[in-house]
């Protein structure tokens, strides 16, 4: 087990093409950290640099106390699980799992015992003599994880390991990966673009965008207190509703803003550094929009555009007259039945409304 420290890491492919810009991060020993972000944001490149499969253009990478920039990939004490499994097709599962140990000159008896132990953890002992082509996707991924476990690494790296699996299997493997982490207590760095995986697996999430870390924090913290518009829009499904407005009242208490058509919304945010008429963006999660009666203070009239029944919840896509954005509202499955065209009233509770300044940075929220 080891901590991982990234200090001002940069990656340039050519002089003009920079994919990682000055990334610094400390990953604790035994932590499960998830890199998340859209395609091309640099999360996989970052992982490959930690693995030693990509050169580091600038900055320092420490694995434990050791500066690892120039250490060969196989000597860094890391093991990596790839999206495509990357199993050797001509070897049996046992041979795949023991290959690194065999190359290192480990005695056969020890290889066998370590392979057997890893296979028992992953419940694949019955598959050890099979070739990868005789396995299902999920079984292949277990073998790939087994190959990583056998090496007894200080750090596990996972590069979108569940992306090739179907939805049901992905859910199963997600749970098993979580259990595996609890069992091994080894540092794990996991790359995904699937925010559900990120939210469910991570001790901490690192959100990447355009080669920069946007925010680091626990899943709930990131969900509830996104530091900027990108994180607010990226995390959460359905995504956060974002509406443009201008400040009406700025203070260190309740701030209010005006949406289009003069609709007024309040937010429990500290907007003291803003001025009246400054442009802002308000954000509210779908589950925080309230369905209210017309006479409720601050109620906004809206019309239902589409209803999606998901069993436990109902997603209502609504339009506020004069605002050309479709908002998503998440209601409990037991909520009053809504239908296309229904005229309703909604409210944005101030304690759940987030405000972002014209640069997209979140304003500090105030305790209720």
């Amino acid at each position: 087990m080891a901590s991982v420290s990234l200090r001002n890491i940069r990656k340039n492919y050519t002089r003009d093409v920079t994919v990682i810009r000055d990334v610094s991060l400390d990953i604790d020993d035994g932590e499960f950290i998830v890199f998340v972000g859209p395609s091309g944001c640099g999360k996989s490149t970052m992982l490959r640099m930690i693995a030693g499969l990509e050169d580091i253009t600038g900055g320092e990478l420490y694995i434990g106390e050791t500066l690892a920039n120039d250490i060969h990939a196989s000597k860094r004490g890391i093991a990596m699980v790839f999206q495509s499994y990357a199993l050797y097709p001509h070897m049996s599962c046992a041979e795949n799992m023991g290959f690194a140990l065999k190359l290192a000159g480990t005695p056969k008896a020890e290889i066998d015992s370590r392979v057997q132990r890893a296979a028992e953890i992953l419940e694949i002992t019955h598959l050890l003599e099979r070739k990868p082509k005789a396995l299902s996707g999920g079984q292949r991924q277990r073998v790939a994880i087994g190959r990583a476990i056998v090496r007894n690494p200080k750090v596990f790296l996972f590069d979108e390991p569940l992306s090739n699996l179907d939805a049901a299997l992905r859910l199963n493997m997600r749970v098993e990966l979580s259990k595996l982490h609890q069992e091994l207590q080894t540092t794990m760095i996991y790359v995904t673009h699937d925010q559900v995986e990120a939210m469910t697996l991570a001790d901490r999430i690192v959100v990447f965008h355009a080669g920069l870390i946007q925010q680091v924090g626990s899943p709930l913290d990131l969900y509830e207190n996104p530091s900027n518009l990108f994180v607010a829009g990226f995390l959460g499904s359905p995504k956060m509703n974002l509406l443009a407005g201008v400040m009406l009242e700025c203070g260190d208490g309740l701030a209010s803003l005006s949406l289009q058509q003069g609709m007024i919304v309040s937010a429990r945010c500290n907007a003291s550094h803003l001025r009246v008429h400054d442009k802002v963006t308000m954000g509210i999660r779908p589950e925080h929009i309230r369905l209210v009666s017309a006479d409720t203070a601050g109620a906004l009239a809206a019309q239902v555009d589409l209803i999606e029944h998901l069993g436990d919840v109902v997603l209502a896509y609504i339009e506020i007259p004069g605002i050309h954005e479709v908002l998503c509202m998440k209601l409990p499955g037991s909520a009053p039945a809504l239908a296309y065209g229904d005229r309703i009233h909604i409210a944005f509770p101030p304690e759940h409304v987030l405000l972002f300044d014209h640069e997209g940075n979140a304003l500090p929220r105030l305790p209720a």
Binding site: A51, G52, L53, A73, S74, K75, I78, A79, M80, F82, Q83, S84, A86, L87, Y88, P89, H90, F99, A100, L103, A104, R147, R151
Partner: protein, 294 residues
């Protein structure tokens, strides 16, 4: 809904053009050759009479055919050399380095050069006072191994080395072809597998031997089969370079001589069948070696 019979008819109709062409240009000549091998064929009146395996008995006892067959089998030495070189070359040009496309194209040029043209060029290379002797003489002289700056090796006239010189030509001519096939095989190996091997601690040689070679085994089988058949059929190289002189007389050259110089088509057909038999035998061995184990 189409009935099973209609479905089969449609399938055969789709296959028909290819089957007709294969029938005319492959199956019929093979069948006719086999039939001819058991008959005495008179070219004057076109008559053929059953000869109770006389051709086979004749070539079984004929020293010339034995010698030709021995040379053809010796020619198989080119197979491992060309396969190994082509695989290594493919591995080298399978890099994303500047100018790599130029090298790939350059190595393929001999393949598309007409064998007669290439033969003339290589005759100049192998000439007594040709390029190869000139180069060896210069190098030997520079290294102090030769007194004169001109080597005197009769590449195509000395029976001890002429066949190896012709094999060198085959090697040069076929290398690019197999390189391209191996390149396709190498490019089908996912980059992640190579990366997984790097992380597992495999060095360059271990990655090549333990990962790349097993993963291109189907291509190795195909290329080895093709080059074995090519080596057993060595004829054009011989005729353009040495005309069968200086102990370069191969089995297919014997077939050509019997058919088109002696007009003994039956004996030529029998010799052809024997060559085919050896080709098939070698193919079986190669399938055992490189074929997928069940």
């Amino acid at each position: 809904m189409q009935s099973a019979r209609n479905y089969t008819t449609t399938a055969y109709l789709f296959l028909a053009p290819a089957l007709i062409l294969m029938g005319i240009f492959t199956f019929w000549p093979v069948g006719y050759n086999t039939w001819l091998a058991f008959h005495d064929y008179a070219i004057a009146d076109g008559s053929a009479t059953w000869n109770s395996f006389a051709h086979f008995k004749y070539i079984y006892n004929e020293a010339l055919f034995h010698h030709a067959l021995k040379n053809s089998l010796l020619y198989l030495l080119v197979v491992p050399c060309i396969q190994l070189a082509a695989l290594v070359m493919a591995k080298l040009v399978n890099n994303r380095l500047p100018g790599m496309t130029f090298f790939r194209a350059t190595y393929y040029i001999p393949v598309i050069t007409a064998i007669s043209v290439a033969g003339v060029a290589w005759a100049f290379v192998y000439k007594y006072d040709g390029m190869l002797n000139g180069f060896l003489g210069w190098a030997g002289h520079a290294l102090g191994l030769l007194a004169s700056p001109q080597a005197h090796i009769d590449w195509l006239g000395d029976p001890g080395i002429a066949i190896y010189a012709v094999m060198g030509f085959t090697f040069w001519k076929g290398l690019g072809y197999y390189m391209v096939l191996y390149l396709a095989g190498l490019q089908a190996i996912p980059a992640e597998v190579e990366e997984a091997a790097i992380l597992d601690g495999a060095n360059v040689w271990e990655r090549f031997w333990r990962i790349t070679v097993p993963m291109v085994k189907p291509t190795i089988l195909l290329c080895t089969l093709l080059s074995t058949i090519g080596a057993m059929k060595a004829f054009q190289e011989v005729i353009v370079l040495s005309r069968g002189q200086a102990d370069t007389y191969t089995a297919l050259y014997y077939v050509y001589d019997q058919a088109f110089r002696n007009y003994n088509f039956g004996r030529a057909a029998a010799a052809g069948l024997v060559v085919t038999f050896f080709c098939m035998l070698l193919a079986i061995v190669q399938f055992r070696f490189f074929g997928e184990k069940r």
